[in-house]
Amino acid sequence: MAFQKSLAHSASAQTGESRSEGLGSAKRKKAFWLTTMMLPGAIWLLLIRYLPMFGIVIAFKDYRAFRPNTFWNNIVKSEFVGLKNFEFLKSPDTLIMIRNTLGYNLLWIALGLVISVTFAIMMSEVSNQLLAKTYQTLMFFPYFLSWVVASYFVLAFLDPTSGMIPAMQKAAGLKVTNFYHDTTWWPLILTICNLWKNVGYSSMLYLSAITGIDTTQYEAAAVDGASKWQQIWYVTLPNIRTMMIILLIMNIGKIFNADFGLFYNVPQNSGSLYPVTQVVDTYVYRAYANTHNLGMSSAAGFLQSAVGLVCIVGANSIVRRIDPDSSLF
């Protein structure tokens, strides 16, 4: 194969030389056709993503209606209030919600990466194809169920009156844990729920990356006497490295965002659990439910985006220095 490669290279080099005068126009033609491919997506992006971005100014304005009452007129005429909409961050709860948001995200990014890659490799190595397919299908199920539905499932275990665990505790003569008022177990419960929901999804991404690996690489490694473990280390992992890094960077970009339903529905919105369940999204939601302050929710969204951008650009520039091929941009 290496031979084929070099052959192709020399062939292209030759044609390049022989047709050097037509090269510029060919290149331009190629660029033109490739650009036309991007047009549908680019037009969509401009219309539906970029055009509405003027709305970001709402985060810095006291938005209200003027006469004549049109959206554009209201945005223009609304008073500019600087950073006033961001003052919700002055709350004493701010540190807790930031700690929770960042802490859970970092933990879950690390755990999620290790577990989904492990599962993907296991599935690709399982010799029984039927079972492998079955696992893959079943693991995908949580992705279909909303957090509301999942919260009923958790409730069936933890409900103080009829839940399975309190019932078992009662039967064993132990003190019954009132889960919805006891913060002890929630970091663990939330972690399990998060992995349960997302591992199937991301391991599918990794699995399809693994199936795309050129199998001759394994054969070559086997010929060289590599054990299966070594093959995974030297063939599989390097081949899915790009996917791992890309997903990692993208997750880091969402480090200041939390999965609302997980933190709101699964703990049944129980106030006593806020010290371990309050995250930026739930805090803003609860505040918005009372104030209906468009400026504040825009400000919170802007803040999440800004933090995400900083993190993602940072992570990407580190990656670019180490492994330029895997960087996001």
Partner: protein
Amino acid sequence: MMSAVSKTRRRSMQMNRFGPGAQALFHIVLGLFSLLCILPFIFVVIISFSSEDSIRAIGYSFHPLSWSLQAYEYTLRLGDQLWRSYFNSFLITLIGTVLSVAICVLYAYPLFRKDYRLRGFFNFLSFFTMIFGGGLVPTYVICKSVLGLSDNYAALIVPMLFSPFNVIVMRTFFQTTVPPDLIEAATIDGSGEYGTLPRIVLPVVTPGIATIALLNALGYWNEWFLSLLYINKNMSIIPLQYLLMRMQRNADFLAKNASMLGADASRAALELPSQTLKMALVVFIVVPIACAYPFFQRYVVAGLTVGSVKG
């Protein structure tokens, strides 16, 4: 021919497997996790067949006191609305998936081409919107007043046509599975860009396309918020998921505002669909997409054979 190749390939792969000990470990780990994943759905199915009395008495349980088909009878009595919403869900998912996969592949392909000079620009154009957006309200204004997305199917499809995340995933698939020589070779053969992509490149990235298609299909199938935003009068086009979410949100609202609505809240609670009905609807929503999954999966696994042709 493909299947013959894949058979030999599989045989050679099988010689090169982990031993029985490791295999057993894999099965235990994957099996247990899979069980954990399917259990809640089984739970949902059991609740949907539980009697209301049982739920009132002992809550949700794997062993209800008594069984009942009531929820499904009621679901079927939704009649028209149910089947129409079902049809809408299928239509939206089908059209949405086909269009969004096409747009995604067309956008991701030039991004992967190292010889395309504008890739940096277009890459950033897409990536930036993953992080920054104008927010819900301005987006709604543009979609409705500029693009006319209101009370029509387009309103349920167009806002989700493009996903920067999927573009990046697709680009990564191109990067990891398509050797650059392949394209060079095709170019030398005189193949134009619009010829190279479907004839030479796409067959190689089938697992990637299947994955993207699955992600898009799931996105469309599960989507309900667009219906809430853009559908006001034309209720005949709402998808099934919205039907379910509306019930859910009604219950949530009444719970939060019970003390404000007073007697009205108690009366309204009577009209709410039962928990069993909601679970029955969850079953209705999950089953079709779960059945479609093996279809996508076949293409993901088909990647094995494609890989062998490549070698």
